[in-house]
């Protein structure tokens, strides 16, 4: 579809796909709320830092015109954002099940809201394109 070539629309489509998959993972967690030995899973959130380091960056070294100059590191500092700390607040029941139903419900609500935001933005962008085409309403 040609619409997906519009960067914003394409990005929203990716986002909606991600949320759709996440909903599936969360549904699985909730369904297994009482299965012995089951651990809750989640999709890895999109890591901006990782994407940033994957992009080939133009790295320039500092010029050393005087022997007393310090040669700067040619690489950019990548450790500035710090690793997100894994939340270790899960509980394991005697049966080995580690699904916190409350937490899962929060995630389901969050996913639903995020999806709503994405679809709203999507229809807004479509409206924008319509306006650009000169169609009123």
């Amino acid at each position: 579809m040609i619409l997906a070539d519009v960067p914003l629309v394409g990005m929203l489509k990716t986002r909606m796909g991600w949320l759709q998959s996440r909903q599936r993972v969360l549904a699985q967690n909730v369904a297994h709320a009482d299965t012995p030995g089951f651990r809750a899973r989640d999709l890895e959130p999109v890591d901006f830092k990782k994407i940033l380091t994957q992009v080939p960056m133009q790295r320039t070294a500092m010029a050393v015109t005087n022997p007393e100059h310090i040669a700067g590191a040619a690489s950019v500092e990548t450790d500035r954002f710090g690793q997100p700390r894994a939340s270790g607040k899960f509980e394991i029941r005697p049966s080995g099940n580690a699904v916190a139903l409350e937490e899962e419900m929060m995630k389901v609500a969050q996913t639903q809201l995020d999806y709503q935001t994405a679809t709203s933005l999507y229809s807004r962008s479509l409206g924008l394109i319509k306006t650009a085409l000169g169609k009123t309403k």
């Binding site: 796909g17 909903q23 909730v30 139903l101 996913t111 639903q112 999806y115 709503q116 479509l126």
Partner: protein, 136 residues
Amino acid sequence: MDFMKSLSIAASGLRTQAGRMRIIAENLANANSTAGASGGEPYRRKVPTFQAKFDRDLEAQVVTLGRVQRDKSSFISRYEPGHPAADGRGYVQYPNVNSLIETADLKEAQRSYEANLNVVSATRRMISRTLDLLRV
């Protein structure tokens, strides 16, 4: 569509919890069932088990009710010499069903059922948002 998969997974949870409730109801209903003949074994408590089963179509693990096990704990015996099911010493065996435990289990099953329903309604809202895009 992935949403349909989410719905199917939640439906498997609903089905399993409903089956669990059925077994609990069976236990509760038989809490006082004694043996027909004298000295026989009364109703033995049933224990539902859960199983994770990988569904190839859904690309996810659905939950199913496994084999129904029997609780191997000992029966409760009461001294009732006049009871038709009493053994030679006058004791009657009563089922190993504790209604307090069954009620607590029932509550838990109910909560899990509601959680699955919640997933279904959240997913349905997401689907209707998707369909709304057609009306732009």
